[in-house]
């Protein structure tokens, strides 16, 4: 299915709702075109193009809900999927946490769609990959990378009169360059809504430089070090805070934001006062959808303000139970920073370690949000404001909450991509003191 216009989506959804005999009915419609190219050993390995669309019908009788989906859009199929959702609803056990669907809402006009990304051709993709490969080859290094682009739309309508529509595009690129003797490795990643902003050549140049410079890594003792986390490294730690902002987990006492006696840290200072985290669907650098999947408007929300926890996200059920404002979980997260570049942060560092990328992040203790993982693809020792030499990779055991209390300095925020979740964020490079490395790794 091509990307439907707002009018086309409205007409189709209206037709589906007309078949409903349930107490309440809600319909979500979406379609995406995805293209990707994967390469390794300086050669393309696979590439694909996948077009998918789906129509999800949720029918409710009282507190009994049935959900059915279909990817055919003729009248008979549309009626069939509505009947199937109703059958499933009749069979379903009553869910005491069921919430009646929302009535009409007001949404801001989204800015997530860029026509140039939707119009990308197979040749453009191959050219972008070729530019990356040429950089690696000219340095006699070996590149492995992945380029993917998406264009899609989503729309929803329900029997209470709610209608929402959004289109969006995105492109994510990542590349790992290794020296031909496998002794050095470097990495770079980029994410944009607009593919014309993607410069695979410059990103691959950074990865190549890191690979060449990291080839003679020295082992230094694990322990507590001042680190400068590049935005891609910070992203995989910071997103564990973002994912943990759920009110129910905190209220139930099983989150790092819980306190004894059923209390939470809402309203309390959690981290350094220079830390401010917010989400804003209309941020031009990181635009996201102006509504959530259940129809709630997405608006600008400050989650942590000058170190103080200001807001939690809620399911509609939990918000009603707790008599709280039902703020949905955000799609993108933005952290305020300063004006300094990564180079400026390095210049101002007496002794420290520059971290390009962190890898294989896992929770060790949810109570303190203690995480473990390793540095990878470019770890360098800094002394007297200069990168002195590459160092062997480390395993860390650190909590991002403790880390943000040991904040030294923030640089200028930039858009980056989490290697763990594939989500895009706007984050500053950050200088942290006493970051805990617990062992050495021989991995390159």
């Amino acid at each position: 299915m091509a990307i439907l216009t707002k009018d086309e989506a409205f007409a189709l959804l209206k037709k589906v709702l007309a078949y409903s005999k349930a107490d309440e009915c809600e319909v979500n419609l979406s379609g995406t075109d995805n293209g990707n190219v994967r390469y390794a050993r300086n050669s393309v390995t696979t590439s694909g193009r996948i077009s998918q669309s789906s129509l999800v019908v949720s029918s409710a009788f009282g507190k009994k809900l049935g959900v059915a989906t279909i990817n055919e859009f003729d009248d008979a199929s549309l009626e069939k999927v509505v009947r199937r959702a109703e059958e499933l609803a009749r069979l379903a056990p009553e869910n005491p946490e069921f919430m009646p669907f929302l009535g009409p809402q007001k949404y801001a006009e989204p800015i997530t769609y860029v026509p140039s990304t939707a119009a990308i051709t197979p040749k453009q993709r191959t050219d972008l990959v070729e530019q990356s490969l040429n950089v690696a080859k000219s340095s006699k290094a070996v590149a492995a990378g992945f380029l993917e682009d998406n264009a899609g739309f989503s729309a929803m309508m329900n029997s209470k009169g709610l209608f929402a529509y959004n289109t969006s595009t995105n492109t994510n690129f990542s590349v790992t360059v290794r020296t031909s003797d496998s002794l050095g490795s470097g990495y770079a990643t980029r994410g944009y809504n607009d593919v014309t902003k993607l410069d695979t050549k410059s990103a691959t140049q950074i990865a190549t430089d890191k690979a060449l410079k990291s080839a003679t890594a020295k082992a230094i003792e694990p322990g507590k070090y001042t680190v400068i986390l590049e935005p891609a490294a910070a992203a995989v730690l910071m997103e564990r805070i973002f994912f943990g902002l759920d009110a129910r987990q905190a209220d139930e006492g099983r989150s790092f934001l819980s306190k004894p006696g059923g209390k939470t840290r809402l309203g309390e200072k959690l981290v350094d006062e220079r830390v401010t985290l917010y989400s804003d669907p209309l941020n031009p650098e990181l635009p996201t959808s102006t509504w959530s999947g259940d129809g709630r408007p997405q608006e600008k929300v400050t989650w942590i303000d000058k170190g103080v926890v200001k807001n939690f996200s809620y399911s509609r059920y939990w918000a009603q139970k707790q008599n709280a404002r039902p703020i949905p979980a955000p799609d993108g997260m933005i952290m305020e920073g300063g004006t300094k570049s990564l180079e400026d942060l390095i210049k101002g560092t007496k002794k420290g370690i520059l971290v390009t990328r962190l890898w294989y992040i896992r929770d060790v203790d949810p109570q303190s949000l203690l995480l473990t993982g390793l540095t990878r693809d470019g770890t360098f020792y800094i002394e007297d404001g200069k990168i002195q030499y590459p160092v062997k990779n480390f395993r860390f055991n650190e909590s991002p909450v403790i880390m943000l209390n040991n904040l030294e300095e923030l640089g200028k925020p930039e858009r980056t991509v989490s290697v763990e979740s594939n989500q895009n964020y706007l984050l500053p490079p950050m200088k942290i003191r006493d970051f805990t490395f617990t062992s050495l790794s021989d991995a390159v």
């Binding site: 990707n36 390469y39 390794a40 050993r41 300086n42 050669s43 390995t45 696979t46 590439s47 694909g48 193009r49 789906s54 059915a68 989906t69 279909i70 990817n71 499933l88 056990p93 869910n95 197979p122 191959t126 990959v129 070729e130 490969l133 070996v142 492995a144 990378g145 992945f146 993917e148 590349v175 290794r178 496998s182 490795s185 994912f243 987990q249 139930e252 006492g253 099983r254 790092f256 004894p260 006696g261 979980a329 890898w359 294989y360 896992r362 929770d363 060790v364 949810p366 303190s368 473990t372 390793l374 990878r376 395993r395 055991n397 909590s399 979740s421 594939n422 790794s441 021989d442 991995a443």
Partner: protein
């Protein structure tokens, strides 16, 4: 599905962090629809359309996978059913070689015209890819098997069991845990049926029916006074079985400090034990960091095998095909060629096996039409082999693939995935108690927990579910805040004892992620309880104020 969406789906929050992202692709269907397979004669007709269309456009090799992928997930918490999800995904993936390059395209429109167009698109993509190709694909020869079929040897198709029985089981489990003192429990049943058909220009038409099941739970208990909380996850294993996995018999249980399960699983009993143990865990002593001899139960050791043996012996990682995401491997070809790379101690024998009954990796043929078998990876401590597919076999001097090719959906391109990789039992008669008896200062670890390993698979850190301190050959009580860190080669060379075959059990991963775009696969790892000497143990407790 993204990890965040899974958390939303289950409402598990912190507990979900123990699981990787779960790809739920496909459309929800009624349970009854899952029981009607597609006629193989029809699949052969559709496959021939694709094979002929690709050949006519210049493909020198083509394979076609027609897949019907069924999932049923039942998710509950405390006294509520949170979600029942039935999905089906049906379509065709076509892979070709043209101009010496791979091309792939997939469609869910199963009319002749759409199939032919998709085959032509795959050839066009192969030709475009060949522009940046440095070495043409070399495919190991493979004989055609004609029209054959294979079915997983299950006793009870889980999709035939009424939803009510499944819901009653999970709500019963939750009730038992809550009565036992738990504050929260999420319990889940995952069921998968892959009905897949493979055809290639080698002359194979292979119809297969594969079943998998995973019952699991996550219990949380909070100490109201201190606000401290602990979790205890199920000791079940995901398996390549039907619903019979949940009908445990006395011979399926190993009695010890907690009941361990062999072949079949008693979910209710484990939930009761879990609720009691989590209370004990809250009061347990925090571990003193240092060197300990570890006794590792198969419900824990499977994950260490998976990460430190399974992944580094994947030949595509060794060669650099996964360098940008999952990483490469320390098991480089020169180590294999030397025939003397001491991966582990002399008693360490690790084998690959795609045929083991009840395992997640068991199939008749892989996703490029190669009949499955068994082979050694580590023999008497020495690296002797890897895991390969058809376009890599020549690198090892093999004339045939080892049958390790898999795609998680018709719409995904198949690539090298891990077969079951298992530690072979000790040859001398030895029980768990015999292993514990010999330890002066040690830890007995049951169940899998936090896991992390570097991109070449040297440095790892693992946690578990239950930790018991061993003093002078006896269990001295429960401890907590434990993780061990080691280096793969040091760790396997510190293996000094493995219990005999009577203790051999399977663990496994239902959702093992690899590749870009990420694909998931299911794989089992068997072992008997084993002892590792002098491993570094850290204390994971922190205070954030």
């Amino acid at each position: 599905m993204k990890r965040r969406d899974f958390i939303y789906l289950t409402g598990m929050g912190a507990a979900a962090t123990m699981l990787p992202g779960i790809p739920v692709t496909g459309r929800p269907i009624t349970p009854e629809e899952a029981l009607m397979p597609v006629d193989p004669a029809l699949k052969k007709q559709m496959a021939d359309v694709a094979l002929n269309a690709a050949r006519s456009k210049g493909a020198t090799y083509t394979d076609v996978r027609i897949g019907r992928y069924l999932n049923q997930f039942v998710i509950t918490r405390e006294d509520k059913v949170q979600n029942i999800v039935n999905t089906e995904s049906y379509g065709m993936g076509i892979r070709v070689i043209s101009n010496g390059s791979w091309g792939f395209a997939a469609t869910d429109k199963m009319d002749k015209e759409s199939i032919a167009k998709t085959a032509e698109l795959a050839v066009a993509i192969a030709k475009e890819n060949s522009r940046l190709q440095t070495e043409p694909v070399q495919l190991a020869p493979q004989k055609g098997y004609g029209e054959v079929s294979w079915k997983a040897p299950i006793e009870k198709n889980a999709f035939e069991i009424p939803i009510k029985e499944k819901v009653d089981l999970l709500l019963g489990v939750n009730d038992a845990a809550m009565k036992g003192g738990a504050n929260y429990i999420t319990s889940l049943l995952f069921m998968v049926n892959e009905q897949k058909y493979f055809a290639s220009t080698d002359g194979s038409y292979i119809d297969q029916d594969i079943h998998r099941i995973w019952p699991t739970f996550f219990i949380t208990k909070i100490d109201a006074a201190t606000g401290k909380f602990e979790t205890r996850n199920a000791l079940s294993a995901p398996v390549g079985m039907g619903y019979e996995y949940l009908y445990a018999r006395p011979q399926d249980k190993i009695q010890g400090i907690t009941t361990l399960y062999k072949g079949r699983y008693d979910m209710l009993e484990d939930a009761k034990a879990g609720a009691a143990q989590i209370g004990e865990k809250l009061k347990a002593k925090s571990i003193e960091p240092g060197k300990y001899d570890l006794i590792l139960d198969p419900s824990h050791l499977w994950l260490t095998i998976h990460e430190s043996v399974g992944h580094p012996s994947e030949l595509d990682r060794v060669l650099g095909y996964e360098a940008n995401f999952a990483g490469t491997s320390f098991l480089t070809l020169d180590k294999w060629q030397s025939k003397q790379f001491k991966f582990g101690s002399n008693i360490v024998n690790i084998a690959a096996d795609k045929t083991q009954p009840g395992s997640l990796g068991a199939v008749g043929y892989d996703d490029e039409g190669v009949k499955c078998g068994q082979w050694d990876i580590i023999k008497d401590g020495i690296l002797v082999n890897y895991q390969t597919i058809r376009d890599q076999a020549h690198i090892l001097g093999l004339t045939q693939s080892q049958g390790c090719c898999y795609a998680d959906n018709w719409s995904s391109v198949q690539f090298q995935r891990m077969p079951n990789i298992s530690l072979q039992p000790g040859k001398e008669k030895k029980s768990i108690d015999d292993l514990i008896k010999g330890v002066e200062k040690g830890l007995y670890i049951i169940g899998d927990g936090s896991f992390s390993i570097d991109q070449q698979r040297y440095n790892f850190q693992f946690g578990g579910q239950l930790y018991y301190e061993i003093k002078n050959g006896k269990i001295a009580g429960m401890v907590k805040d434990v993780a061990y860190q080691s280096n793969t080669q040091e760790f396997w060379n510190s293996c000094v004892g493995i219990a005999d075959a009577s203790d051999y059990r399977l663990g496994g991963s239902f959702f093992d992620g690899k590749g870009q775009p990420a694909q998931s696969s299911a794989v089992s790892h068997g072992s008997s309880t084993a002892r590792f000497n002098g491993v570094n143990v850290i204390n994971t407790s922190r205070n954030i104020g």
